[in-house]
């Protein structure tokens, strides 16, 4: 049943005063319990209990949002860290490769240095900048020229053995004819028997040893080195290994030599400034 409108006063001043009085008593009690050390009254606890889901929900939402945010930040941090670590791995891998290359270079240069020390003539180190070993004319270009004291007919070798001779120089570059060039000739001897001959390039990857008599003791596997009789190459530089020695049609044997140098992988070379035989001595006739 609906309550008549007249029952509820339009200006309930009395109700207002009663309410305020009750609230004042409540406050007084509350302030008294505070002094006694009880911070919460039963009424206060009841109100808190009724509305407690709200702060709990807010706290849960806030905590969840905070966790999500921090999780996101952690994830971003992990992604950044991952990217940085990837970059570090790339950097370290590159550095490792450089160090490996340096180690290889060091070994090779140490070999070259030790090798060059056995020569009494002045030497110059150079780097091969171009290789032309595909055509019949075999040559390489090195990064030292006349300004470094390099002259035509200087011998060129590396730690493995003889490479060839300088055939052209500019101020900064030189061209080297390889011993495998079909126009190249080197005075050599067989290490085991000291038999001398002439090594001529076959225009391919090897060379032929000429002027070795049919009766000479030559066997595959014999090492060949420079004889020092041609006025260009000093004595004792390894040239190659005999791979085939057959009796020829005439007085000499057909001997194939595999060069000791891998011409496709030449990097550093030593230029041997050999003492040249003056032209007049060569042309001297009594």
């Amino acid at each position: 049943m609906a309550v008549p409108v007249d029952v509820i006063p339009r200006r309930p001043t009395l109700l207002f005063i009663v309410v305020l009085s009750l609230l004042f008593i409540l406050m007084s009690l509350s302030s008294r319990t505070r002094y006694l050390g009880e911070t919460r009254t039963m009424f206060e606890r009841t109100v808190m209990t009724i509305f407690s889901p709200v702060p709990r929900a807010v706290n849960w939402i806030g905590q969840s949002a905070s966790d999500m945010y921090h999780g996101y930040l952690d994830m971003r941090h992990s992604v950044d860290e991952n990217v940085q670590l990837h970059q570090k791995v790339i950097q370290l891998t590159t550095e490792n490769l450089k160090l490996r290359q340096s180690e290889g270079d060091l070994k090779r240069l140490r070999g070259l240095l030790g090798y060059s020390e056995q020569f009494t003539m002045p030497t110059t180190m150079a780097q091969a900048v171009m290789l032309d070993t595909s055509s019949r004319f075999k040559s390489i270009i090195i990064d030292r020229g006349s300004s470094a004291g390099i002259q035509v007919n200087d011998a060129v070798a590396n730690a493995s053995g003889l490479i060839g001779r300088v055939i052209l120089t500019t101020k900064d570059l030189s061209k080297v004819q390889l011993i495998t060039d079909s126009n190249a000739a080197v005075g050599v001897l067989i290490e085991r028997t000291r038999r001398q001959g002439v090594l001529r390039g076959d225009g391919g990857a090897g060379a032929q040893l000429l002027d070795i008599p049919s009766l000479a003791d030559v066997q595959p596997g014999d090492n060949v080195q420079t004889a020092g009789i041609d006025g260009i190459y000093p004595k004792g530089i390894p040239v190659g290994t005999i791979v085939k020695a057959e009796k020829g049609q005439e007085l000499f044997k057909n001997i194939a030599v595999r060069p000791s140098v891998d011409f496709s992988g030449i990097e550093e070379v030593i230029i041997l400034h050999t003492r040249k035989i003056p032209g007049e001595v060569v042309r001297y006739t009594p």
């Binding site: 006063p9 207002f16 309410v19 305020l20 609230l23 206060e44 808190m48 509305f51 709200v54 807010v58």
Partner: protein
């Protein structure tokens, strides 16, 4: 229906209270969401309803604040009654009128608290004037914004026809 709206408003105010306490502990020194709720409800001009609304909102605020239990209930009841009384005499409509009611309500609320704390606890509230000015400004601005949004989405109940129109 109006009570349901009030209950929802009370829950929102408590949510705001909890949120601000959790993330911006000093924010409640700048504005009071319960006053906004009370003024919004009391502008209907129902004095009895305003008294009970003030008690309910105040007790909830007291329960979740460190004040003496009943302090805010007392002050908000006074505010609610005052706003409802004015609105029972005058027809105050619109955002500006709501803002004006809010200013008055905040000032009454702060003054009542100041007096009660002085009487019951024999304490003085430090920087009371500055605090009151700041709270009045921010509560008024925030409340007007809320009122504007509410009038856009909710239709207000008709105000008692016996009241006289004003120039607001």
């Amino acid at each position: 229906m109006r009570w349901l709206r009030f209950l929802i408003g009370l829950l929102i105010a408590l949510t705001l209270h909890s949120l601000l306490d959790s993330f911006f502990p000093n924010a409640l020194a700048f504005f009071n969401p319960y006053v906004i709720l009370i003024v919004y409800y009391s502008m209907g001009g129902n004095l009895v309803g305003a008294i009970f609304a003030g008690i309910a909102a105040g007790l909830v605020q007291d329960a979740y604040s460190g004040a003496i239990f009943g302090l805010h209930a007392f002050s908000l009841t006074v505010c609610a009654y005052a706003v409802a009384y004015v609105n029972s005499r005058l027809v105050l409509r619109g955002t500006l009128a709501f803002g004006a009611c809010l200013i008055g309500a905040v000032i009454i609320n702060e003054l009542v608290i100041f007096v009660l704390v002085n009487i019951l606890l024999k304490q003085r509230i430090e920087m009371f004037e500055q605090g009151m000015v700041v709270k009045t400004i921010f509560t008024c601005l925030f409340g007007m914004l809320v009122y504007q949004l509410l009038t856009l989405f909710l239709r207000e109940e008709p105000i008692d026809a016996t009241r006289r129109q004003t120039a607001w």
